[in-house]
């Protein structure tokens, strides 16, 4: 009896301790925890070329990965202080809600439901995407309108799953969804012939196509059926951390617009031009309110690069994906990437 009571009491105490420990998110809490830990814990995908994927030495690379490096550079002045946690689509929000990761940078589409009901906030758009279809050349199909009755490999828990149903209802066609947990499994199903079509964001389809055994045997159909603004996500209620992540991305975009790159950042560091001086932190201190050092933006650009560099290196002309800038170009160059000024 005594023994039983003790055991129960112990477990009850342990439980309560756990529950009390998970208090609500408060301003400054995340930044403090990150600084104390000495690392930013960043949730990424389980492997998607161009966005977040480990290279042959096991180092993570991609646009989403560089956003995390940017945050680390802003906080610590050292872009390498990041720990990456690979997550599948179903795990990602829970991992962020529970505090397992500090920022989710995992080709995640910004939608009203996710922004308002999950206790999370999207900090911006790092890549404007849209959903498309990848089919085998041998099917002889050149429009999504010909896909009535086809089987689709799709990743579980994504907006893709919802858009697919919407599109087929709108066009009064039927479809068979074959749902897998990871992006690799969907590719496996497509290659084996379990489904006729692989559907995902078009950038991902381009990325996944080059992973196929025979990339030239498959093609992306011209239709883009949805808007998929992808961006980093943080927990709601911690505005300081929210600002830090949001302005990391803005700094990258502003840098490209101002012509600051990783190559000329050191030269421009002591520039007298007011805009550049504010950016470099030699005039004013825009980092302070976010809990960042004065030269936070300089650290981001010198170590990670501006948005254009990051884009080219990971998904653009300088990468095997070779995706055009398109709407992801700066607003000054016909695109829609636009950042508020640093002042």
């Amino acid at each position: 009896m005594l023994h039983n009571n003790k055991t129960l009491l112990c477990s009850a105490t342990a439980l309560m301790a756990t529950l009390l420990a998970t208090g609500s998110a408060q301003a400054g809490e995340t930044m403090e925890a990150v600084k104390e830990r000495g690392q930013v814990v960043c949730g990424v995908s389980t492997g998607l070329p161009g966005f977040s994927t480990p290279d042959d030495q096991g180092n993570w690379e991609g646009i989403d990965v560089d956003v995390c490096h940017g945050v680390a550079a802003a906080v610590f002045g050292d872009a390498s202080k990041v720990q990456f946690v690979p997550l599948n689509a179903k795990e990602r929000f829970t991992a962020l809600q529970s505090g397992e990761i500090d920022v989710l940078s995992r080709n995640t589409t910004w939608t009203a439901t996710r922004d308002t009901t999950l206790g999370l906030n999207f900090t911006g758009v790092s890549f404007y995407d849209g959903q498309g279809f990848l089919v085998k050349e041998s099917l002889g199909i050149d429009s999504a309108k010909q896909l009535d009755g086809a089987a689709f490999c799709v990743q579980s828990g994504t907006t893709t799953e919802l858009n697919l149903a919407d599109y087929f209802q709108a066009h009064d066609m039927s479809f068979e969804p074959v749902v897998f947990d990871t992006s690799d499994q969907t590719v496996g199903g497509f290659e084996a012939g379990r489904c006729d079509v692989l559907t995902s964001d078009t950038s991902q389809l381009n990325a996944l196509r080059i992973k196929l055994a025979d990339p030239s045997g498959a093609k992306v159909l011209p239709e883009v059926i949805s808007k998929e603004p992808l961006g980093p996500v943080v927990r709601q209620g911690d505005d300081q951390w929210f600002n830090a992540v949001k302005w990391t991305l803005f700094a990258m975009i502003n840098a490209e617009e101002m012509g600051i790159s990783s190559e000329n950042a050191d030269e421009l560091k002591n520039s007298e031009k007011p805009g550049i001086a504010r950016f470099m932190g030699s005039e004013g201190n825009f980092g302070q309110a976010m809990g960042l050092p004065a030269d936070w933006a300089y650290s981001i650009v010198s170590q990670v690069g501006n948005y254009g560099e990051v884009f080219d290196r990971n998904v653009g002309a300088g990468s095997p994906l070779n995706i055009e800038r398109g709407i992801n170009a700066l607003w000054t160059e016909g695109g829609i990437q636009y950042a508020p000024p640093i002042r």
Binding site: L8, L19, T116, L162, A165, F175
Partner: protein, 396 residues
Amino acid sequence: MTTPSSPPPRGETPPFWRDPAKRALLFQALMLAALFAVIGFIVSNTLENLDARGITTGFGFLNDTAGFGIVQSLIDYTPQSSYGRTFMVGLLNTLLVSALGIFAATVIGFLMGIARLSPNWLIARIAGAYVEIFRNIPLLLQIFFWYFAVLRSLPSPRQSMSLGEAVFLNIRGLVVPAPVGGAGFGWTLVALAVAVIAAIVLVRWNRRRQEATGDRLPAGWISAGMIVALPALVFVVSGMPLTWDIPKLGGFNFSGGITVLPELLALWLALSIYTGAFIAEIVRSGIQAVSKGQTEASRALSLSGGMTLRLVVIPQAMRVIIPPLTSQYLNLIKNSSLATAIGYPDLVSVFAGTTLNQTGQAIEVIMMTMAVYLTLSLLVSMFMNWFNARMALVER
């Protein structure tokens, strides 16, 4: 009464804290109160935290439109159905694979368990090898084996393997003709139900008659004949109102007929073969637990071989078999949740997977899912306990 230390005077009860029985009761009441307080605290604290973090709570989401497709549903489902409907679809898919699995595992288990005791060296060894191989490889690997190694290597729909141009097997699954009942087919089903009820009544009446008079009819044969003949007669008389919907290849895949998904096939195969190996061992141990003297005694009473098995060995073996068999059934139901690994749309994949992710209401969804598995397990347990009580030997 004669000890010098003052015992409580006769007729006067000791104070309750000196009475161990009442003290224990008090402690238990306190424990219970503390437990409820802790549970109450956990619930209110969770709700407060969720609220503070701006995470939506409550079960209102069950009425919202789901907006995603599900590849297999036993009830009407479209992407315009509600999240509550996805719960039902997932639940029925779980029940389907569990029921199929329990049936197949029981058949395989009993066959293999008896085969292990066969005097035929080869049969016994094959059964032994089956048991040792399949119960010692993790279930998830077996599911992957059937799905990725076996079913993934099947041909595309256009190169399907076919049986008489009616049954087709390809990477999209097994396509079989679907029976379509015409007008008046309902009468055949009614006849079948009547025959089954009549058979049950006959068997019971026969048992009572045997106990009273010692005479017995071959009730088993009569019942079997009745169950086959009666519906067949009605079927013919009503003009054979049944047609077959033969699958036809068109567009991307076969249309018409019934498609058994490869995910369902893989999961069913893996669950039945894995659990069957355990059941085989349970059956073998049950039969071996009946002492040889019982068989010899029934032979001495000049019972035939079949009667010895049916009336002496099996009733006693069942006492040993049923309780562990129940656990295997429960395991199978719970293991069916591994479906999510290969994308079979069961409760965990559809509801605790996609629905959870689209709504973000993890606590509600996971609680509902856990409640389902708990309820299913308790129901199966209750049924098996009832069955066990019926099978138990009545000592006279």
